[in-house]
Symmetry: C2
Subunit: 246 residues, 2 copies
């Protein structure tokens, strides 16, 4: 059966995250598999590049799937958009080699954490930004972000209770852009991320920007290898998976 | 009693428009008056600069009100944001002369009509853009928009059944920006607008961009003074009242 790569965008607000769960939770993976089953008439299992948490958005999540269909990729994309729920969409579909695996073959993932920084809430940005009232010191955040790029043990930024073989990861980029007050973006690119790592990095950088942590404190937090050494988990609504490179 | 000018942002999706209606409709005016009544303990009537329709958003709607309060404007803004619903916010509050009237004294209103132009829907933009699938010809739309600026009788762009003394209005600017495919903005600035005028102009410009109307047809449409001569009303979700000048 032919193998496909499906690029998805979704508003994560009303999804219980990417991954299928026991019970009736509304997940993106579940919605995609149901849509593909309606199109192909056969059971489908997809593999996603990143298991986004409940409330996390995507502009370019990638899934791989073997599908018993003769549809051309463009027709499959249109068919998917006709049956997917309105808060999800296929934005690209292509044929790939049979052994393509969206998770294993990902070379880089690009995440953006969006902050609305201002004294009052911004209703039109509310679903997709985290509201921080105190004016952020972007220079301090940029200084702190510098110490995060490269290969480090990110155990201090991993959700408590995770079980992975290694907590070493490589961040290619960690950029702070925007204006304060105004919209501030924290852009992360890396080969792989631990569970909640981006949101824990964002929560720690926000503490730096708020003057509650020293901009030079990141090497010490990394060295501690202790979740308690880092800042809080920033809310899911601010996070979007923008792109996956292969 | 002191007079105030209150600048509001709101996500119009879940409001039945600005204006209070008979019955239980959830309106922005109603939400603002209830919030002000909770703060001041007295009945309040506000005047809004623009009566936005159901589903239309605002970044800078302006309301005027006389309020029996000793609160400083900044404290009033904070108090308002504590009691307004989450999909509305006061973004500025100032004291004004007793005779200030947000509607009558407005010199210019700035509206943006946002279009997501691409073959597939964009879930993260869905609440605040109108989705147009066919790639728009922005040069043709820009050419057509040129004939709309200035003072004209805009009767062809007024919602059917409206009763106003004159349908002559002045458009200071009508700009087409963005990329197609991509996000396209239609920016309108004018001294005043007829009912549904911006959405009717947007719907007509979209027909020009889709090749269904001649870019040079706008003078004829204006001259017809007939709603049937213009294009359809574009959906409310794409429209945002950005700013009101005094």
């Amino acid at each position: 059966v032919p193998a496909f790569r499906i690029t998805l965008a979704y508003d994560g607000t009303d999804f219980a995250g990417w991954q299928i769960q026991p019970g009736a939770a509304r997940t993106v993976q579940g919605a995609l598999e149901r849509a593909l089953e309606r199109i192909t008439g056969a059971p489908v299992r997809v593999v996603g590049a990143g298991r986004t948490d409940a409330g996390v958005h995507a502009e370019g999540q990638v899934a791989s799937a073997e599908l018993a269909t003769a549809l051309e990729p463009d027709r499959l994309r249109s068919a998917l958009n006709a049956v997917l729920p309105q808060d999800a969409a296929a934005v690209a579909v292509s044929r790939v080699a049979d052994d393509f695996d969206a998770r294993r073959d990902a070379r880089a993932k690009h995440y953006r954490y969006r902050i609305w920084n201002g004294p009052d809430r911004a209703p039109l940005l509310a679903r997709q930004t985290h509201h921080v009232r105190r004016t952020l010191d972007l220079a301090a955040m940029t200084r702190a972000a510098r110490d995060l790029t490269g290969t480090h043990d990110f155990a201090s930024f991993q959700a408590a209770g995770s079980a992975v073989t290694t907590t070493e990861r490589t961040l290619f980029a960690c950029d702070v852009c925007g204006s304060a007050p105004g919209e501030v973006w924290l852009d992360f690119a890396g080969s792989g991320f631990l569970r909640r790592m981006v949101r824990n990095l964002a929560g720690t950088l926000i503490e730096v920007g708020s003057g509650r942590r020293d901009p030079a404190s990141l090497p010490g937090i990394l060295a501690a290898r202790d979740r308690a050494a880092a800042g809080p988990t920033a809310p899911a609504r601010g996070l979007v998976l923008r792109r996956v490179d292969y």
